[in-house]
Amino acid sequence: MKILSWIEKAHILVGSLGGVATMIMIFSILPDVFARNFLGISIAGVSEFNVALLVTLVFVGLAGAQVQGSHFRVSLIDSILGESRAFRVTRIFTAAISIAIFSLTLKATSVQAISSAKRGEYTFGDVQFPIWPFKIIVSVGIFMLVVQLVVDLMRLVLKEDNYTEQAKDS
């Protein structure tokens, strides 16, 4: 199904744009280091801005990391079960469990994001930096992960996953 591939490509693209946040971090921290060490002044809000960038980088990249198989896992079962029917059943079971875990997480984070947005939540300290948009990004990132997990499950059920492709090739 082409739509599944498009969703996966979109998740990788969004995750890649999140990677750009790393570059922005470098070029926002460096002027602050020089200003503090050579001019004796500190640029206000750099820390808060970079924490916000970090949250964005992590959560917009979750679904892309799932597509690229970056999430750490114990791969012992792969070598024990090989490409058998039992392996496919196990994969479907784990995909369904994963959807359940992150649907629950999505519900919990969304409740807090909505509450934060309604209150217009800000950081305490010298600079008042808005938190609520980043709590919404957390929920959006987890939503994208749930969508990707559903895509993975559909691929397994439709036998369009990598394991089936590898078995066909061999």
């Binding site: 970090l54 997480t105 957390v138």
Partner: protein, 428 residues
């Protein structure tokens, strides 16, 4: 006790089924919190944990150090480090093997990753070592074990994660790792020297001509970037000139500059690939941290870590034996799962135990990294061995696994030395 058993069962069943480790830890955390705090309490903690765990200033170093490693590799620092080490050490007994260890140690000061160090050095060193008469077993073992220095010698990604999970200081951990890192590199080099010396056939075949002193001195100019990165990142942190976050940003910025000026090929794709990989790996690491936070909260509500500490304190054994007992799970689990996951699973349980028993978490962190080094070269997972195999497909995995056996013995010996002489682990 019932809640603790349920949490552990959920974790083990899901890990066994092959679900990602972070997903399994979140599921185990949800189960434990639901049992201990009820549905509403669990939903409140679950809703706050992803943002609360991620929005930490200290953790900005994770993507920055990852990006620095990518750019250091793209700038060809690993290749040049090996060439310099070969020129200086190639002529001694087992010279190329010793040069492999030295270049791993050198690249470790900028990469922060065991896999990156093993993969990059293996590609350059193994073909040369085999061409000069070294056995594939020793050639593969040198890169696989030398690569493990990447997680010990600062800046180490694993130590950054450890610092977050155990609430210890990053500069303190980096300072503590310096001497054990150097000691490990020297012990590996000594072992290579001894192994070649004990094999007359290999000793004769591997002899290389001595490079003129002038050429050797000139070659040092090829690794000035490594020296600059080390001085700026580690020196800046130790002398209190910059914070860990600022040091990481400076290192990432400098490595980017080196990659743009020294690398061959499309600069745009080098930077883009570095950013994409950094983004993807950062997301995976942070999901592990979120899982560890939930799992840790669930475990602490069961009071099991506290009971474990009381039980351990009641045993009539010395502090070194207690330390060894607490370290044992890392050696066992290290055969099956990677270091990062081990830290996020075990340290939320063990940190309160360490504090109650009066064992310094910084010192214990260095021992944990040593155990992770062993896990990275032990079957069946032995990640570094497979990394070496994928970098140099001609080499047999079984050969590398056989070759690393003496290195594992040396690792265990170093752990025992560190436990016996804890003063070798500096504190700042």
């Amino acid at each position: 006790m019932e809640a603790m058993l349920t949490i552990v069962m959920v974790l083990l069943i899901l890990l066994g089924a092959g679900i990602p480790i972070s997903f399994a830890m979140i599921a185990a955390g949800i189960t434990g919190l639901w049992m201990q705090r009820g549905w509403d309490g669990m939903m409140f903690l679950l809703g706050g944990s992803p943002y609360g765990t991620t929005a930490a200033l200290a953790l900005i170093v994770v993507p920055l150090f990852l990006f620095m490693g990518h750019m250091a590799f793209a700038a060809g620092l690993s290749d040049r480090a090996f060439e310099v080490a070969r020129k200086w050490l190639g002529h001694i007994t087992g010279g190329l093997g010793v040069a492999t260890i030295a270049s791993c140690a050198s690249f470790a000061t900028v990469s922060g990753s065991s896999i990156a160090t093993a993969a990059t050095i293996a590609k350059i060193s193994i073909p040369q070592m085999i061409r000069y008469g070294y056995s594939p077993r020793l050639a593969g073992a040198c890169s696989a074990t030398g690569g493990t220095l990447g997680v010990l010698i600062p800046p180490s990604g694993i130590l950054v994660v450890y610092s977050f999970v155990t609430n210890t200081s990053i500069p303190a951990l980096f300072a503590a790792a310096l001497l054990p890192g150097l000691l490990t590199a020297l012990a590996y080099a000594g072992l290579v020297y001894g192994l070649v010396l004990a094999d007359p056939k290999m000793k004769k075949a591997t002899k290389m001509p001595k490079v003129e002193l002038r050429d050797r001195v000139v070659s040092l100019s090829n690794i000035w970037e490594v020296a600059i990165l080390f001085i700026v990142v580690i020196g800046g942190m130790f002398f209190g000139l910059v914070t860990a976050t600022e040091a990481a940003a400076l290192g990432a910025g400098l490595a980017l500059l080196f990659a743009l000026t020294r690398s061959h090929g499309s600069r745009r794709s080098i930077v883009w690939d570095g950013l994409v990989n950094t983004g993807s790996t950062t997301s995976a690491i942070f999901l592990l941290l979120i899982g560890a936070a939930l799992f840790g909260t669930a475990m602490s509500t069961t009071q099991v870590p506290q009971q474990l500490a009381i039980w351990l304190a009641s045993l009539d054994v010395s502090r070194p034996v207690l330390t060894l007992l607490l370290l044992l799970p890392f050696f066992v689990l290290g055969c099956f799962i990677d270091g990062l996951s081990m830290i996020t699973i075990l340290m939320p349980i063990l940190t309160p135990v360490l504090l109650m028993l009066g064992i310094d978490p910084v010192f214990f962190g260095i021992l944990v990294v040593k155990a992770i080094e062993v896990g990275a070269i032990t079957p069946p997972v032995g990640l570094n061995v497979f990394v070496v195999k994928s970098a140099v497909p001609e080499i047999k995995t079984s050969d590398v696994f056989r070759g690393v056996v003496p290195f594992i013995a040396v690792e265990v010996l170093i752990v025992l030395i560190l436990i016996s002489f804890p003063q070798l682990v500096f504190r700042i």
